[in-house]
């Protein structure tokens, strides 16, 4: 007998990122609007933007590949929307953002989304504190997680704010061994440069 719930018996492991995903160079010093929103950042070193998006209002940047350093921007997640694509909506639905959420609720939403999407119980939010996103009041939290079938312990840091009922979130995560410590300064520089304003017309 198999006791299998929530599609935990993995058969075909599908990656959200197609093998042919195109990369675009994000040049140091050039301000960029990200995640189809009014969220903008200015990189302090060159980054690579992935062509495919984790969700409609999200995009990811990397230095050496997402598995090693993953900067993801969520730009204006609206009320009752998920952070990223709800790929298994029927059997493993993702939690939804609510405009009334407080900072700890957002951290919990993020944790829950990762637990469901990565099929893991080893995910925790380790600290949370007030912070600024540009001139907006927001929050910063740290997290750590390990995915099933991989066993690589990853650390992450997130900066976010709810502006006009929409969630703006910048997250950086990398393997706890070597990569997180090496790249966190570059990621924080991106977060420090973040500004939330009206979305450009081209978006």
């Amino acid at each position: 007998m198999r006791y299998v719930m929530f599609a935990c018996s993995a058969v075909a492991v599908l990656s959200a990122m197609p093998a042919t995903a195109a990369y675009h160079l994000m040049t140091s010093g050039t301000p960029e609007y990200v995640a189809k929103s009014g969220l903008s950042v200015t990189p302090s070193q060159d980054w690579n933007r992935l062509g495919s998006r984790p969700g409609r209002n999200a995009e990811s940047w990397t230095l050496d590949g997402l598995a090693l350093n993953d900067m993801t921007f969520y730009g204006g997640i609206g009320n009752d929307e998920t952070l990223f694509r709800d790929a298994q909506k029927k059997d493993m639905p993702l939690p939804h953002f609510s405009s009334t959420m407080l900072a700890p609720d957002v951290a919990q939403l993020f944790e829950g989304s990762y637990r469901v999407a990565n099929n893991t119980t080893l995910m925790s939010v380790d600290s949370i504190e007030p912070a600024q996103v540009g001139d907006q009041k927001g929050f910063r939290f740290t997290y750590s997680f390990t995915k099933q079938d991989e066993e690589v312990k990853r650390k992450g840091e997130a900066l976010g704010a709810i502006v006009g009922g929409k969630l703006y979130l910048l997250t950086f995560e990398a393997p706890a061994i070597f990569y997180f410590d090496r790249d966190i300064a570059s990621a924080r520089a991106l977060m420090t440069s973040a500004k939330i304003g009206p979305a450009p017309k081209s978006n």
Partner: protein
């Protein structure tokens, strides 16, 4: 972020199995007792197919041995092994390795090489030691009767089958052979054997043999609750779900109860609920937290309500508050406030309930009361990692 999704594809499965032919004979039920000597400590795989499966499972076990998902707490492991050995007998349990895996779903399996996996989600879904023993006994019967090996022998193209193993990933691999079973009608007979085997083992060990039928009733109801809350059809009778290879429930429940009523139990049958609850106690809050964060409101609500029939504890109230607050509809927040209030005071009060209460009150527009609750949380947990945020929310 990186997303990796797992999905069961029926087409991929179907391509590997030979369609059942009219002349195929069902697997003849083999008694548990007759098979037991074949799986002792000294047993070695007998042919190429069996060696192949063992090799795959040995490799999976090597990874589980160092996996961060395996719970290594000595007391819990000793307890689980103790129940297993009592159920199957010391001689039969000697060579079996048990791994308790932190995964919030109801699952247990036993691989042909003697590796048993128990998922942490199982602990919340069985109510006492007898029910726990029923699941272990069921899995042991599959193992003793070499059911997964019989299934794998039916795979037409074994080299493709081996590649198929890879697609399951480590956590799916031990359950892959079971999944394969859903393609064969005769796997129903294996389930009947395992059911019968578990009832026999329960009775021999002095456990209440009725425990086996109770588990399946509880799980069926939980599947319904999940489906209602998600507004989808219940998966309880669907292929690929945990009930896929089970005979129709009514028949199965009746058969299990009938078998149990005919069993002569040694001495007075026991359920050992107190011992079970004591063993689980240090892990209960963590396992419930895993369950709440699955975003399965209906299933979790059903589970908590079921546990509440034996008495609502502050821990249970806290879990209910967390569940309601995580969904966060206006009516949920109001109900969460009540639940947190019950959790925050009295014997066994949960200090974190003040945190949940404060956050729920703030979201509900009750700022003064909410800030007061958060201050009580910080007084109770002065070293909390979220103190800077809570201080701000509490008004500085």
């Amino acid at each position: 972020m990186i997303l990796r999704r797992a999905a069961l594809t029926g087409a991929a499965l179907a391509s590997l199995v030979r369609p059942a032919l009219a002349g195929d004979l069902p697997v003849a039920p083999v008694s548990v007792a007759a098979q037991l000597p074949s799986q002792g400590l000294a047993y070695q795989p007998q042919d190429k197919v069996e060696r192949g499966i063992w090799m795959q499972m040995d490799e999976a076990e090597r990874k589980f041995r160092t996996s961060s998902f395996v719970i290594r707490d000595k007391a819990l492991n000793d307890y689980v092994r103790g129940v297993f050995c009592r159920t199957v007998g010391d001689a039969n349990c000697a060579g079996v390795r048990i791994y308790i895996v932190r995964t919030a779903a109801f699952n247990a399996s036993m691989a042909p090489n003697g590796m048993m996996l128990v998922w942490s989600g199982l602990f919340l879904r069985v109510r006492d030691e007898a029910q726990f023993a029923a699941v272990l006994g069921h899995e042991y019967t599959h193992y003793a009767n070499k059911h997964s090996l019989q299934l794998f022998r039916e795979v037409e193209d074994r080299s493709a089958g081996m590649a198929f193993f890879g697609a399951f990933g480590l956590f799916g691999l031990p359950f892959m052979l079971g999944e394969l079973g859903s393609a064969f009608a005769f796997s129903r007979d294996m389930e009947r054997e395992a059911d019968a085997g578990s009832v026999t083992l329960l009775a021999k060990a002095g456990y209440d043999p009725m425990a086996a039928s109770k588990i399946w009733e509880q799980l069926r109801a939980e599947q319904d609750a999940t489906a209602v809350a998600r507004n989808v059809a219940s998966r309880k009778d669907k292929n690929g779900g945990m009930f896929a290879t089970h005979p129709p429930t009514a028949e199965r429940m009746a058969t299990l109860k009938d078998l149990a009523s005919k069993q002569a139990v040694v001495g007075t049958p026991v359920t050992n609920r107190a011992a079970y609850m004591a063993a689980l106690a240090p892990f209960w809050a963590g396992f419930v937290d895993d369950q709440i964060k699955l975003n399965d409101f209906g299933g979790t609500d059903f589970l908590l309500t079921s546990l509440g029939t034996e008495g609502w504890t502050p821990q249970l109230y806290y879990a209910r508050g967390e569940l309601l607050r995580s969904r966060g509809r206006p009516e949920d927040l109001k109900a969460a406030i009540d639940a947190y209030r019950s959790a925050a005071t009295g014997v066994g009060a949960v200090p974190e309930a003040w945190r949940g209460l404060g956050l729920a009150l703030l979201r509900n527009g009750q700022t003064v009361e909410g800030q007061d609750a958060l201050r009580k949380y910080m007084a109770a947990r002065p070293d909390a990692a979220d103190k800077p945020m809570m201080t701000m929310l509490a008004g500085g």
